[in-house]
Amino acid sequence: MPQPREVAGFGAIWFTRFTAPKVLRFMVRDDQLDRSEIMKADVSALEVRGLTKRFDRPAVDALDLTVRTGEFYALLGPNGAGKTTTLRMVAGLLKPDAGTVSILGIDALADPVAAKQITAWVSDEPMIYDKLTPLEYLEFVAGLWGIDPSVSEISAHQLLASLGLEPHLHERCEGFSKGMRQKVALAGALVHDPRLIILDEPLTGLDALSARHVKGLLQERVRSGCTVIMTTHILEVAERMADRIGVIAAGRLVAEGTLAELRQQNGRGDTSLEDMFIALVDAEAAAA
């Protein structure tokens, strides 16, 4: 015969596990849910298992990848290795043929909306509207992510100022250079305070000062507990900024670890990342 305390405890667990979320979802609009509701502690920022995508040939081939929370992860690889395809599948822009994608414990394929709420995507081609000003663009992005305007407005001004765009707040983006457009796109990605930032070649076409602004902003985000995954062809950036580096070739992860671990794995004590990268890619090409 169950004791009243046991019944109450079971009832409390049942309510917490099954009923409360439903009631909460019913009472509060999904875009007003606190992001802490959908994030779980002590989980990887990104966990990819058996991710596969074929076009006319396999672009991503049963890829397994884990990125820890609060980590700056650089994904390297030669052209056509499958980096962008992988990240586009993670961001929900491309449907995988097989495999699973988990973002901070959320199954991104089963519940893409919840996963997108805490993710930002920045591509090498800035996704902005020529006819909007940077402030209008950020207001739109914040609205899309359902951020409280009183919060997003302050954040937008801070972001644009930190990227050196303050003098251009009220100018339409149509006259902006590639670097300025990229900075607006990056500000848009950060305005909703994402927990996972995915960047595909974000430094392409940026001048030295702009690149420094962007790198500074990303490092600041990592320090505040955010996770950054970035592809880049500038190996020096990966060498200096990344906590861990993954090398992808022909859709598979061929090496992964910190710079020191990569050197150890390859038995090259003091070589540069560039030399190791070329050796790894050459070895993979020879094996293929």
């Binding site: 995507w121 509207y129 739109f140 899309l144 992510w145 359902g146 407005e153 707040l169 009220h170």
Partner: protein, 507 residues
């Protein structure tokens, strides 16, 4: 390479580019080229039927012509010239602003005056090519019905094509001088739209004010028009006389066209280069948005809708394209105003015009909002289901159409409540149909590709046009012969269903 050889070489290059661009526009992709050419030939053959209906009765005309006939033929030729001029103005602005190869040309050691002479000639050639293509069914009908003398109509088309290209270049360069490069693009497009539609609309307005009908011929064949027209030996009638086979006049016209284009090439070619340099230097002009107001809150769909409305408002391409369709609403609006003072059966004609305009405008708006998304990745990575994104975008189309057509329908309700209800239903159905077709055939594109939206899917273009015409006819019949409206409505619904069946995105 000598100067003449260089000129010939560049002309060959231009012709090759123009040919490939035209082919791509007509066929979409290499794989479908053969099928598209067959479809084009079939379409041209079918076009002979409406051409016969419109122009067949004029095939027997013999010289000397009376004033009413001369007026009708001259007006028709002038309409063709206005349309060519509209197309030529668009071509010229494209040459100025499509900078893909201008940087290359201008950084080369080639003589820029020569280069732009060839480019001006290419504009003339492309305007003539398109005009000949479109006029062929009409001239064929005249030749079959009235004999080989009508072949001279082709010569008239060439002559007016040359003069249209020359005038277009002069207008555009003049606009550059008067209002500067940054405004010329928009103004030139609006001018092109107004010129294209203006003549027809002016005739309709005159017909409504004088005779209470939408028919253009009412004015052209009236005694008043004959009374005001110049004498029979006036040069104004030369194009009409040339069209019916007066060889001498035709020679004069062609020589005049060539001379005009030659003069424009000589005067404007050196200036063309300077103008292009000025455009290149000012394209990066700073345009300021409004001073910031506080961020506004709302749902995610609200954010999407606000963005779409803002972009639509700031889109000069759309403005000029939409203006053409809205201009056609002027005559029915005028007719409505007139019907308040005089009871007239002709008011029935308002319904199909309004429904047709709504369908066409909705198609353009739906393309801009659904397919023309400049930040497609951003919207796709936003935390809201695709269905809600689509819903918000369709709402924008419906609200825009509602805002434009509601006042007209409200005014119509004062004249006839039943007709207003039928017109409102027609507008809604035509709008929903056009939006649905754009949804089923959506492709990811930049808003700047709006001009080429028709080429991305011929099927969608034709389906959209047929549905607009079908719903316009159904609405008109619903007011006059309700039983026939049921048949017409069923046929149009059938077209829509068939379009859905063969569309790539039936979800």
């Amino acid at each position: 390479m000598s100067s003449a050889a260089a000129l010939t070489w560049f002309a060959r290059h231009e012709i090759r580019l123009a040919w490939r661009e035209w082919l791509a526009m007509m066929t979409g992709s290499r794989g479908k080229r053969k099928r598209a050419i067959i479809a084009l030939v079939v379409f041209a053959a079918i076009m002979h039927l409406p051409a016969y209906a419109v122009i067949g009765r004029f095939a027997d005309l013999q010289a000397p012509l009376g004033k009413p006939e001369l007026i009708v033929i001259t007006a028709t030729i002038f309409l063709a010239w206005a349309l060519m001029l509209s197309q030529a103005i668009e071509s010229v602005t494209r040459v100025f602003y499509a900078r893909a190869d201008l940087d290359l040309l201008m950084s080369s050691p080639a003589n820029l005056a020569n280069v732009f002479s060839v480019r001006i000639a290419a504009i003339g050639l492309s305007v003539n090519g398109m005009a000949l293509l479109l006029s062929t069914p009409f001239v064929d009908v005249l030749v079959i019905g009235g004999g080989a003398r009508w072949l001279s109509a082709f010569g008239v088309v060439v002559a007016i094509g040359l003069s249209a290209a020359a005038v277009a270049i002069a207008i555009t360069v003049l606009l550059f001088t008067l209002i500067g490069p940054s405004r010329t693009r928009l103004v030139a497009q609006i001018v092109a739209a107004v010129i294209g539609a203006g003549f027809v609309i002016a005739l309709q307005v005159a017909a409504i004010l004088s005779y209470g009908t939408l028919s253009r011929f009412a004015v052209l064949t009236s005694d008043a028009a004959s009374a005001y027209a110049p004498d029979l030996d006036s040069p104004l009638w030369w194009p009409a006389r040339a069209a019916i086979g007066d060889g001498m006049v035709l020679s004069w016209l062609m020589a005049g066209g060539l001379l005009l284009l030659g003069a424009v090439m000589a005067i404007f070619s050196p200036r063309f280069a300077n103008t292009v340099v000025r455009v290149a230097a000012t394209t990066r002009s700073i345009r300021r948005g409004p001073r910031a107001t506080a961020f506004r809150g709302g749902s995610r769909q609200w954010a999407l809708r606000t963005k779409e409305f803002l972009l639509l408002r700031r889109d000069p391409w759309l403005l000029s394209q939409s203006l053409m369709q809205l201009l056609y609403l002027v005559p029915p609006a005028l007719m409505l105003w007139r019907s308040f003072s005089e009871s007239s059966d002709a008011i029935v004609l308002i319904t199909p015009v309004v429904v047709m305009a709504a369908g066409q405008l909705a198609g353009g708006l739906a393309w801009l909002t659904i397919s023309g998304e400049d930040a497609a990745d951003l919207v796709a990575t936003a935390p809201l289901p695709p269905s809600r994104v689509i819903r918000a975008k369709i709402e924008v189309v419906l609200i825009s159409i509602g805002a434009i057509f509601a006042p007209l329908i409200a005014a119509l309700a004062f004249a006839s409540v039943t007709q207003a209800i039928v017109t409102a239903l027609g507008v809604i159905i035509a709008t929903v149909s056009a939006a649905a077709i754009q949804l089923w055939f959506r492709v990811q594109a930049k808003r700047s590709q709006f001009r080429r939206r028709q080429t991305s899917s011929r099927l969608a273009t034709f389906a959209e046009a047929f549905c607009s015409i079908g719903w316009a006819a159904t609405s008109a019949l619903a007011v006059t012969i309700p039983v026939a409206a049921m048949i017409s409505g069923a046929l149009t619904a059938g077209i829509l269903a068939a379009t859905w069946k063969i569309s790539p995105r039936r979800d």
